[in-house]
Symmetry: C2
DNA sequence: GTGAAAGCGCTAACAA
DNA sequence: TTGTTAGCGCTTTCAC
């Protein structure tokens, strides 16, 4: 329709140089009229590039991960990549996913969200012709995006200490993969370090597991409140657990922040309404930054291996 | 490595018939040892099948849509399909997405979630060699999954009437695409029908827009409470708006359900904790059913066009 | 600046 | 039951 060869069509439509502008125009108009798009599997086969990247998360239906995926999707679709999502709830499935991704070249890039890789997996991915970016753990062989979880625990605890609290409960997450998922441990470490720095010795009875869920936070807080000497404040490792804590206090007839101060982590959508003081970690930015680094890798613009840290900040509201 | 031709490898690995079991075993072992997987773009090009399906949602970072996507992903990955996600926030982007999907054959199946198609879009998709399933609107040309939104509005309102309420507020969603997004209108219709059936004439001042968000529900409820004759109960079209309503009541010093009864729709993760009475619509099942119907289409097992309805049920808790 | 032609790594006839 | 071979629809050399 444009009166040129298939090679010229290919060059023109992909914006390559050495195509006369008049020719490019004719080709583009013809493509438009025919609603022609190159077949991805054919161009992928010929060029070796699929323009497809894959993101793996532990679960899809959680506030945190859907924010990350949304952030990544926005960047990637902007850059012309399609995004395949996979839920990888167990270490076995993680291994299967990594094997498959490394071998099949279905995607040319991979974002592993809060899925720490073991040495064998790292080796498989390193050997594969694949861009890899990780999130949530301190990976040195691939570009990664992390937050300072020790710092988060410290900052949150410090805020409660600044408010005059010394008896501070801890709603811990729970590590399903204790070998590698370090977030809860790091935040707990920050909590302990801060207490020590303030001259308070941590009371292990004040630490409960809340499983990063609202229901877990509710149950854990209820337990803490049954103590003979309950805490006057609590640091929840996620806002969702903090919501549970707020509700447990409410059920116990306590006022917040008078009887119980609460601080969370995330700045969840509901945090503002609930007046929850929190350490905001701009979750969608985790996805955005990871995707940007991946695009850099795929387009050959470096992106040195190693972690990039996303900033966090305290947002004071009415629960403290 | 298995001592056979590429054709036999292809047949053996895809589980086709007419391969000796001993041969299949040798091929599978060799593939395992070499970590060989067929290159998707090559097999896609040769066979015409990409084993890739695409799901489009208005936004990714919302409770509702992440549940739908999670449900679909579970079914599709089980069936051997990869799932590409795209956020399509505006009608213009919807058109672009539909054009691209129809023309490029990047995916062989499409799930459109709460993205009503206009006639031109339906025509493009119908003409394309593509399986299509829609969700959330009553599509007759493609298989679709729907809920009885009029029924939801009726059931919710009836429950409040059964509790003795006659002055019942309505927290409406808001339709961004008023031409096609019928959910809010349908639920409002159910509300009105129920009131009429009970001999109550709807008061338009009791209907507010809450934009399907918690913040919107909070603001809308606050407004209703400022009325000289505020409602004694409120039907929120989503649990997230209901959370806002609960909080507005709390801020106004009202007790729930004594001073204000609240009912929502969804059975959101937090509904149980908040004690929210709601019309459960098993959101993840929307994704599951849509994905299952798509797989049927792609595998040639029929799946007649037209809507399949997902059931809803009342869950009574303490806000009514 | 453009065209001809040789693949990319598979699958699907067809033959054996 | 297995092998041979001709594509699938592009991209990419290499000529011109």
């Amino acid at each position: 329709m444009a009166g040129v060869s298939v090679a010229t069509v290919s060059r023109a439509l992909r914006g390559l140089p050495n195509v006369a502008e008049s020719t490019r125009g004719r080709v583009e108009r013809a493509a438009e009229a025919l609603n022609y798009h190159a077949l991805p599997s054919a161009s992928g086969l010929a060029s070796g590039h699929s323009s497809n990247v894959s993101i793996a998360v532990p679960v899809l239906n959680s506030w945190y991960f859907s924010e990350v995926v949304a952030g990544a999707e926005a960047v990637l679709s902007e850059s012309g990549y399609s995004l395949s999502v996979t839920a990888v709830p167990s270490p076995e499935e993680r291994l299967g996913f990594v094997r498959g991704s490394a071998a099949s070249r279905a995607a040319e890039g991979l974002i592993m969200v809060d899925l720490p890789l073991d040495d064998a997996e790292i080796e498989m991915l390193r050997a594969a012709p694949l861009g890899v970016v990780t999130t949530g753990f301190d990976c040195v062989v691939f570009p990664s995006v992390v937050v300072d979880n020790v710092g988060i625990g410290f900052k949150a605890t410090q805020h409660l200490i600044d408010r005059g609290h010394t008896r501070i409960g801890l709603l811990n997450g729970q590590s399903e993969d204790p070998l590698h998922f370090t977030v809860p441990n790091d935040r707990a470490r920050g909590y302990e370090q801060c207490l020590s720095a303030a001259g308070v010795s941590p009371d292990p009875r004040l630490a409960c597991k809340g499983n990063f869920s609202t229901a877990g936070g509710l149950a854990a807080m209820a337990e803490l409140l049954r103590l003979s000497d309950p805490p006057s404040a609590v640091f929840a490792m996620s806002d969702e657990m903090a919501f549970g804590a707020i509700w447990a206090a409410r059920n116990a007839g306590l006022s917040i922040p008078e009887d119980l101060a609460v601080i969370g982590v995330d700045n969840h959508d509901l945090a503002e309404m609930m007046g929850l003081t929190t350490i905001c970690q701009d979750v969608d930015q985790h996805g955005v930054v990871a995707a940007r680094r991946l695009v850099e890798v795929l387009e050959g613009r470096g992106a040195a291996a190693g972690p990039v840290e996303v900033a966090t900040r305290l947002i004071v509201r009415t629960t403290t």
